[in-house]
Every structure is written in C-alpha cells, then in structure tokens.
Symmetry: C2
Subunit: 246 residues, 2 copies
DNA sequence: ATACAGACTTTCGTATGCAAAAGACACTGA
DNA sequence: TCAGTGTCTTTTGCATACGAAAGTCTGTAT
C-alpha cells in the first residue's frame, strides 16, 4: 500500500551519493554547482504530470513521492510549492497536493493569453531580429518541414516548440519569454495540436511569419502570429467538439 | 549579530498558539481552514520587500527571518520557493535567498508585458461587462477622482489598483487576471507613477476607457488601454532620466 | 436498515537535528 | 606587501521527529 500501484518511470532522482567521488575533478570545467535535489524533484514531477503518470485530480502523497524518488519529504514539499504557483498542482491546506485538473474553460483562457503573448513576441522579434537570427529561424523551419514530410510527430512537436521558443528569444524581452514558456508548457499538457491535421497549415504560416520577421515588418508579423495562434485555439475547440460527440 | 539591525515591522506572524481556544466555535460560520503559516510568511515577506524593509540585493538569512516572524525555518523556506518563482527573490544554490534587484531593463520589460496583458483585458472587458458592472466601474472611478482632488496619494494608488483589478475581473479570464496581478505587483514595486504629475491625465483616460467598455466597443477600449499603459511606461522612463541627471 | 458517535489511521504542517558547502579570516612564506 | 593555504564560522540543504487535522471505519442505538 505504501508502494505506488504504478511505479514512476525515470527512477530515483538522488544520485548524489553515487557520484560523490571527486577524483578526476579536472574534468569539471565550470563551477558546476550541484543543483539542489528540489530542482531535480521539480523537473521529475513535471515530467510525471505531463506524461500522465500522475493523473489530473490524483492525490500526491508526499511520502510516496519521496520514497520513490529516493529523497525525503522536504525537497518534495519545496518542489510542490513551486509547482503550485506554476499551475501544475493544487495545494489544499491540511489535505496536500493534487494534480491540477485542467478544465476546458481554463484551457481556452490559457490559449487566449498565449495568443496575446506570442503575438507581442512576434512583433518584437520583427523589430529586433538580425539577419543571422533570421537564418537560424529558417533552419528551424527546415527541420520542422522535414519532420512533417517524414510524419515524425515527436520531432514535429519539438521543432514547433523550438521555433516558437526561439522567436521569444528574439523578442529581447526575458520577462515575456519566461511567461510564454510557462503558459506554453501548460497548453501543451492540455492539448497537443501540432500532431493533428493542422500540421501543413501551421508550417505554411510559420513560413510567412519568418518572412515578415526578416522584413522587419512588425505589424505583419503580429497579424500572422495572431491568426496562427487563434487557429490553434479553434483547432482545440474542434477537437473538443469531436471528442464530445464521439 | 543574529538580530537584524532594523527590526521588521509587522511583527510576529505566528499567533496560532495564542488563539487556539476553540470555545465559542459557533462564531465561526464557514469551515475556516486555518491558512498554513507559510502563507502568512509569504505575505509578510512580500510586504517587507515592497516597503523596502528588505532591500534589493539583501541576503535573506533563513534563521533570522524565522526568528523574527516567530516560526521555524521550514515555512520560511517554502515561502521563499514561491517568492522565487514569482520574481521577488533569487535563490542561489548553497547560498540562499537574495532580494531580487530590479534592473531598469527588467522594469521596462515588465511594463511592456503589462501593457499587452492589460490591453487584452480591456478588450475582453468591453465584450463581457454588464450594465451593473459598468456602474461599479464608474463608482470606482469616482473614488479615484475624489482622491485626486483631495491629493490623497494613498487612496489614489489603491483606487487605481482597484479599478484596474476590477477590469481584469470583467475580462472573465482568470488566467489573464492572475498574470496581470503578478506583473502589476512587481511593476508597482519598481515604480509608483500614479502619485506623479500623470494623475489627472491618467484618470481622464480611465473615463474614456469606461465609456468604451460601457459601449461594448472592444477595439476602442483596447486602443485606449494601450495608450494608457504605454504612457505610464514613458512616464517611467522620464522619471528614470530625471533621476539620472540629478 | 440507517444515521450518528467515537476511536483509529493516514497525512499534513511544523520543528529540530545534522552533514556539507561556501565564505571569512588569520597565518605562512616569498 | 601580497599571494596562497589551511582552519574556523556561518548558512544552507536534506533528513527525521512529533503534534494535529482530516478522513475512515466500526459499533451502537433508533
């Protein structure tokens, strides 16, 4: 009973004791501050939530997570704090943590916010991108189109994420980039549209978007990104409707 | 040395032991779940940071905060986790927490993001607001104008916050409202413009904004909010320049 | 059979303890 | 005088311990 029914993939997180040997330290080139365990726990938990090992609504018993990950409750609790503020879990006083249950309404709200943020990001990117950076954009686009042709969904999803992420970098606004990162990850948790029939259209829109950024046309980049993200939002609703009627 | 040089205002947070008496429980009407200490610590720390008792860059020694607030290190640590993800402190591994030092660049980025989010919020508010809600907006506007006439800066600042906050509520998008809340608090920490010479202008713009919302004119509400927030951003830069040349 | 009361179990929230990393400081040697 | 080094202090990060709240189950009375 104290063992989780389904063992968590990824295994224990606490490898600290194992690689304590400091001999051959010359191999470590930088300062190499060991990231605290809570960081590893945080990342492990997000992975477990995103891949549905921990399901929405599930009660996360601290001691179970701790034992599975090979740590004590303390770093788990600290990770849960962060996960709450980022919307992955809900912490009910005296009851503990529950994996957040995404409602359709919330998904729509997130998609709406994402649309606005990404649009702003595209506008700023068009204002700031250098020719070298535009070249990098085109490289990323190439990867995506190749993945599309190869019908490689995993690569397609990651290429899409990389492209959008790089555009946020080009915005030269770290605050904006960070917010988009947070919102995007949650959106992708709720809904992964890029694998669907919107693939070709989406990548054609990317093409136009990059052209606008290359031309430094902020208004046009803006407009395209708005259309692009709002279409994604529509695709979400269509998928939802399809689910509902099946 | 273990006592902070400047004692923290607000005093101890742990009054739990004091009001443990459960007799007369009938007075508690709802469930009244006692919020965890970490919540109180979290709020106390934000207050201490915003009012500059804890200054930017200052090293926050856990045991000192804990002793002053009358709790142990644990709830302090958990509060610090949350404060980090919200941008109030920086947590350096094995070194602890430092009050985040806001740079001018970051302030500008925050103001830029805030502008976009508030603009979207105004647009949605115009689409959703009911006549009753518009009346409430006008009431809030009245409070602000009264405070302006009375030259009551405190009331002016809070009226401004209330008005903007209420507009985010009208957007009917909780995710957006929460993000704006976070960004706004940090912006106000960096810079409190409403007390400055922009008072009259700002409240005149509010008037137009409310008219647009009342008319359900989303595009116009949008436009006004963009101008409004971008002017705030300009005011920040002017103030910065004034500081620099003095 | 069902509703209620009370004990029991589980789990959280907080406090405390301990090892280890980071920084401070004085000492040594050139 | 100053760079380098070893020791000592401070503070973090993690683990463990304990009291209390919430949920669960059982037994009893109606």
């Amino acid at each position: 009973m104290s063992e989780p029914a389904t063992p968590f993939p990824g295994g224990a997180v606490n490898r600290r004791r194992a690689n304590r040997g400091t001999l051959g330290g010359a191999a470590d080139r930088k300062v190499e501050r060991p990231a605290p365990l809570r960081q590893a726990v945080y990342e492990a938990l997000i992975e477990l939530i995103v891949n549905r090992t921990l399901q929405p609504g599930q009660h996360l018993v601290e001691i179970e997570l701790a034992e599975y990950l090979g740590v004590s409750r303390q770093p788990v609790r600290e990770a849960l704090q962060r996960l709450q503020t980022e919307g992955w879990v809900d912490l009910r006083p005296a009851q503990g943590a529950f994996v957040h249950t995404p409602t359709e309404e919330e998904a729509d709200q997130l998609l709406s916010v994402r649309s606005v943020l990404e649009t702003h990001s595209a506008k700023l990117a068009a204002e700031h991108a250098t020719p070298e950076e535009v070249e990098m954009l085109r490289d990323l686009q190439g990867l995506g189109v190749a993945a599309l042709k190869a019908r490689d969904v995993d690569r397609l999803v990651s290429a899409n994420a990389d492209l959008h992420s790089f555009i946020t970098t080009l915005s030269r606004n770290d605050v904006l980039a960070e917010l988009i990162g947070l919102v995007d990850r949650r959106v992708r948790w709720y809904y992964t549209p890029i694998a669907g029939p919107r693939g070709e259209d989406a990548w054609a829109e990317h093409e136009q978007l990059i052209d606008a950024i290359a031309a430094g046309d902020a208004a046009e980049a803006s407009r395209i990104m708005t259309v692009h993200t709002e279409r994604t939002r529509l695709a979400y609703h269509e998928q939802r409707q399809a689910r509902a009627s099946s």
